[in-house]
Amino acid sequence: MKIRLRFIVVDAPDSLLMGPDGNLEMEIPVAQTVDMVMESLALPGDAAYLTLVNEESIPVAQRNGRHLQEDDLLTVFTPLKGG
């Protein structure tokens, strides 16, 4: 199935070619969790990443139990502090 992927203040992995709208369509097996997709992205391990599925915030501790559906938008971002 296909999901959409978006990175905010995170460098997308070189292996991914982002679309002009900043999103990427990604083919994943059915029943994949947020955790599994995050692991497959292999983002650098020295930063914290937070996730949204569509408009819902998915805490790190709940990524393992959150299954993705067809056409979900997974947003990966870095928790900045304000100024």
Partner: protein, 607 residues
């Protein structure tokens, strides 16, 4: 050591300048800057006094690390009773002025009374005098600073001054130093203007001593090396705080069109990518470069160059086109909050805020309230002087920032701040303020911790008094937010009192090692934790004595009653009723937010 041990007291009424010893027992209890300034305010002034009266005091305060080699150790604060809020105000600024004041040998300057005519204070180490400022009254920050350097024939003099806004009594007027660094919030510039004090010009040559130079240098170097190598520092250097626009927009916490929405459909026009995009008109980007404050290895400051063909400056050939650029807060307030998709117009508005000395957060959020008053038919072109105040109008933004900065036309009403403006027109619910201070760029419906931080901030809505960011961006639920907010409020009180900036991400261990190296005394992590709590409670005592109460610990009614339309907080309102009682309990306050006798005794604040 760390401290200079000297306070300069300037009585503007009788025009006397007197040096006196710093109360060292207070310095060890309240550290410096925010904490120490508040202690002097509490001890010497009447919290119930009108902030614009001669009875209010205005304190410029450095911290024990100001002027040292600790990274970002160039900060100073202005402490007073806020003209915008009627609450304790402490507004913190970077640049180079703070370190220069410390180098001149002073920890604090306390201004009291009111001068009959405009004056400025000249400080050349121990040589201190009040001088006539008649020729500078009516001039902008950008005119006064170079003029004072030229007059005293010293380009190394550092100047903190007010512009037209402070003279005109704009309730959110700033004190600006180094042309575009500002003690920006709560209207400290309006207090300075009410005292007829135009500027403070400082040149210092006595330096700063620390208690244990070897230990201090070692700790400062180690911490600096860690900061220099961090990803967050690199991001701040390259992009400043503007990447936050995309984060809050994606998360659904970007205040948009006076918080009627929480995501901005024009985000791509006022974000970090828009700042860096090459313009067709002159083949240059809006963002020219970055810059750093004294002793800073982060360099988050933005320098922007305006498009010379933009309508805001097209007929102003001599207008300085290069100045401080948009940062997240000004990007939010002059972009999404007013619905403007023209980054050059937002940048120009930010320039004018620097030029005339105004807080861009409060200006933008006040204009957005006026836009809602206009679009709902409460006010019309009759009040605005023929200008259509529609959301998204770059022309309205440009015209209104000019009128507010110079105190003309409808700008006089915008200078009241959104609380007084909306009350005047019978719609207080349009005011996005806490304790009279306009909210920064985070909507509390998706960021419940930030909502609690706003509600409980002693100086009114503030994004720098607490640090709920990481948790807020991970989960919307309210459980545990009270503890995160209270503990980070205590920690940030120490950063603001030490002479440092919040951006490098100092831990309490870092602060302990730096302050212990600079100052003689017990500054263990445990001691600093209690000290932070002490400072927070002292500010609370000031506010209670000023007449504030639990009813002021709230957020804009829109956030309490209108569910967010989209984003992570979709369908939610701020659940303050779930967080505030727990917060009071954690603080050792009673059910109406008054610190208990036990708490005050424990913190040494009982008398």
């Amino acid at each position: 050591m760390g401290w200079q041990g000297k306070v300069l007291r300037v009585n503007l009424t009788d025009r006397t300048c007197t040096g006196e010893d710093l109360k060292m027992d207070w310095a060890r209890q309240f550290l410096g800057q925010r904490g120490l300034g508040t202690k002097y305010m509490m001890a010497e002034s009447d919290p119930a006094a009108d902030p614009l009266s001669p009875e209010n005091k205005l304190i410029f305060a450095t911290g024990p690390l100001t002027g040292t080699s600790a990274t970002t150790g160039g900060r100073y604060s202005v402490i007073t009773k806020g003209a915008l809020t009627g609450a304790i105000a402490c507004s913190n600024s970077g640049g180079y002025f703070g370190a220069e004041l410390k180098y001149a040998g002073w920890d604090l300057i306390i201004f009291e009374g009111r001068s009959e005519t405009p004056v400025y204070l000249l400080v050349l180490d121990d040589h201190v005098e009040l001088l006539d400022a008649s020729e500078y009254w009516g001039k902008s920050v950008w005119e006064v600073e170079p003029a004072l350097k030229a007059k005293h024939q010293d380009s190394l003099i550092r100047v903190a001054s007010i512009g037209h806004a402070g003279e005109a009594g704009v309730r959110y007027a700033c004190i600006v130093n180094d042309l575009d660094r500002a003690a920006g919030r709560s209207g400290v510039g309006a207090v300075m203007g009410a005292k007829n004090l135009k500027a403070v010009a400082v040149r210092g040559t006595v330096g700063v001593k620390v208690y244990d130079p070897t230990a201090f240098l070692s700790e400062a170097t180690t911490i600096n090396q860690r900061i220099v190598g961090s990803k967050s520092r690199k991001r701040l250097e390259q992009s400043g705080t503007m990447p936050m626009m995309d984060v809050t927009n994606a998360y659904g916490s970007l205040p948009t069109r006076n918080n009627r929405e929480v995501q901005f459909d024009g985000i791509d026009t006022v974000n970090v990518h828009a700042m860096k995009a090459i313009r067709r008109t002159d083949s240059k980007p809006n963002l020219k470069t970055n810059k750093a404050c004294f002793a800073c290895s982060v360099g988050c400051g933005r320098v922007a160059e305006l498009d010379p063909t933009h309508f805001s400056i097209a007929d102003k050939k001599d207008y300085p086109r290069i100045s401080g650029g948009l940062e997240y807060e000004s990007g939010y307030s002059l972009g999404a909050m007013v619905g403007v998709t023209d980054i050059e117009a937002a940048t120009y508005a930010n320039f004018v805020c620097n030029e005339h000395g105004m807080d861009p957060i409060s200006f933008g959020a006040t204009l957005s309230a006026a836009m809602e008053l206009f679009e709902t038919g409460v006010i019309s072109e009759e009040q605005t002087g023929g200008i259509k105040l529609n959301f998204g109008s770059a022309e309205a933004l440009v015209k209104m920032v000019e009128l507010t900065g110079t105190g003309e036309g409808f700008g006089v009403e915008l200078g009241l701040g959104s609380r007084l403006l909306c009350e005047k027109y019978g719609h207080p619910e349009f005011s996005m303020t806490v304790k009279g201070q306009e909210i920064p760029g985070y909507d509390g419906r998706a960021m419940q911790g930030m909502a609690l931080a706003y509600a409980t901030s002693n100086r009114g809505a503030c994004h720098l008094r607490a640090d709920p960011y990481s948790d807020d961006f991970e989960r919307v639920e309210t459980s545990g937010k009270a503890k995160i907010v209270a503990e980070s409020q205590n920690e940030n009180s120490i950063i603001d009192s030490a002479g440092l900036c919040a951006f490098p991400g100092y831990s309490l261990e870092d602060l302990s090692s730096l302050v212990s190296g600079a100052c003689d005394g017990d500054f263990s992590v445990e001691s600093l934790t209690v000290m932070g709590e002490r400072i927070w409670n002292l500010e609370r005592q000031f506010n209670l004595a000023a007449g504030l109460s639990m009813k002021d610990d709230t957020v804009p009614v829109r956030m309490l009653t209108e569910p967010a339309k989209s984003g992570a907080g979709k369908g939610r309102v701020v659940e303050l009723d779930k967080m505030l009682p727990e917060y009071y309990s954690l603080r050792g306050w009673d059910e109406v937010g008054v610190p208990s006798g036990t708490t005050l005794n424990r913190l040494g604040l009982a008398d």
